[in-house]
Symmetry: C2
Subunit: 335 residues, 2 copies
């Protein structure tokens, strides 16, 4: 298996990206094609003492920044690491593409270069979020600020395939985010989406989920529009960070509390690990015709390695093929 | 000052409601008119040994339950504690009304019986939420699942008045929830709301706030539609509860970790107090012509006492009068 990576995307590119790639080669037995500025990639490999076995470098002199307007960047920066990498994926020169670069550009590039699955009007970003009872998948976590009911219904199908094939959940439970359990709750689009999902034989629909119950991880797939999904994703991150910071302050207060920390260190480490989004890699662009994965912009080597592991699991499980099959005979998804 | 209360609303009515009322009479020097089933109220006062000095009982035999359809309940249950209490408020027989009953019914009743301020199409629910740097006001936290830009702009004005007059914030900072800092972010309604708020001389607009930054409490007033607000409110509650539960597990793991807990007990108590929504009382129905406050459905005596304190502060600060003044010459709020 050959995973194409954007070696220039993200806050810590190219050094951490390449270190993560080298670790993925060793641990998962994949081959990696690293696309980026060749001189910079070589310099980073030498500076970090990275063993480049299994990594092929492909030169792409341009770079898309976080400030570039997404669609314009994809159209005009033809020699950027992201565009070259996506083109290689579209041409079958690799099995998946992973980037820690601009989410907007990656989404636009995936749609323009790799294309969508039939039945998908707009891809969604599916993010795995740590939950108390285990991680859950949130989609759309930010691609589409407004979603029609048919889109939400398609997200439910794609999310189920992902949780089953990548995360190994049997008969994954799907719920629709809403401000109450009754099927009449929410905006007209949510009421309609509820009806579509309830009638959808391809998913295991658990009804509406109230936001209070999301963090526990009681369901496997949490469906909502991208505006709401962005709120859930970012508020979860922000709140977990704030609370962990507050608890740290409690332990730093005095010599006595510092001693207490030594006594609970192991448990607190497990607790922080549970909250660590890096453990779960990146976000799959769901509805794109081949696996395109967005790693977190602040990815370090470990996070990027995990995003490659996720790409490998998507390929191993033929996730995109299974989504294509289930969506092809669901014409309403493109209504 | 005379605060009218719904003695039958909420999970712990009437006992905890009346205990909270008696504490409020003692601590804040207010008078309370308790509306509800007189026999049940008297029995609760006796059973709990509550000193009823300062509390006047008004008999209202009917009760609105959480299962009643809100508007129908208000129209048909004329002798319910909620309807009788709201009517007394409308007729000037008290200065504010506090209920821990059904949010939907209270909202419908406030609109139908107490009426709206000029310039307000639909009232919003304003909830004070604990933040790391201090509490902030979230509105709309659940009344209107869809909001037009003019409504969001009116919420900004009302929220500012509240934070200034009730919470004592000078020049309160207002922000619009959005999925990015740029003024072009979000749905068309949010883009327009941003423009209206930016041009509004009555508020101190700090631009968009990303959900990640909300828990810190960096701004005083957080404005969004009620669907998003419900997600923020309930996800914050659920996540805080889940994380506190996890930390508790860390401390319960062994004799060693239990010892650690003894060493940090004080700090953890302060931490939990910071997260305690009961500290901040209830939610003001913003845009109603007189102060109507929704206490949490699960209110205990302390939470209900604090909701009465909040009602007193609203009356003391003439919050509704100030809102009326600022909204009266803003015709766009009712566009």
């Amino acid at each position: 298996m050959n995973i194409i990576i954007d070696a220039m995307g993200g806050d810590n590119a190219p050094a951490e990206i390449l270190k993560g790639a080298a670790a993925a080669v060793r641990e998962y037995g994949v081959l990696v094609t690293a696309v980026g500025d060749e001189a910079k990639m070589r310099a980073a490999l030498v500076a970090e003492g990275v063993d480049a076995a299994g990594i092929t470098l492909v030169h792409a002199p341009e770079q898309i920044s976080m400030c570039d307007e997404p669609t314009a960047a994809i159209r005009h920066k033809k020699d950027s690491s992201m565009v070259v990498g996506l083109r290689m994926l579209a041409e079958g020169k690799g099995d998946a593409f992973v980037s820690a670069g601009s989410t907007g550009a990656l989404l636009a590039g995936a749609m323009l270069i790799v294309k969508r699955l039939r039945g998908v009007k707009r891809p969604a970003i599916g993010t795995v979020i740590p939950g108390i009872e285990g991680p859950y998948l949130l989609l759309d976590s930010g691609a589409n600020v407004e979603c029609r009911p048919e889109m939400l219904n398609a997200f439910a199908v794609m999310g189920s395939v992902y949780m089953e094939r990548v995360m190994g959940r049997k008969a994954p439970k799907v719920a629709l985010v809403n401000n109450g359990a009754e099927e009449t709750k929410g905006t007209p689009a949510y009421v309609q989406a509820h009806a579509l999902m309830k009638a959808n034989p391809r998913i295991h629909f658990a009804g509406n989920i109230e936001p209070r119950d999301i963090p526990a991880g009681a369901v496997d797939v949490v469906v909502c529009d991208g505006f709401t999904g962005n709120v859930i994703l970012k508020l979860t991150e922000g709140l977990a960070k704030s609370l962990v910071g507050q608890i740290k302050n409690v332990f730093l207060a005095s010599a006595k509390t510092k001693l207490a920390y030594l006594l609970v260190k192991g448990g607190m480490r497990d607790f922080k690990k549970m909250l660590d989004a890096d453990e779960h890699g990146g976000a799959l662009m769901m509805g794109v015709a081949k696996p395109v994965i967005k790693a977190h912009g602040s990815s370090n080597a470990k996070a990027f390695k995990n995003a490659i592991r996720q790409a490998k699991r998507c390929v191993d499980g033929n996730v995109v093929g299974a989504m294509a099959e289930l969506l092809a005979d669901a014409p309403e998804a493109d209504a």
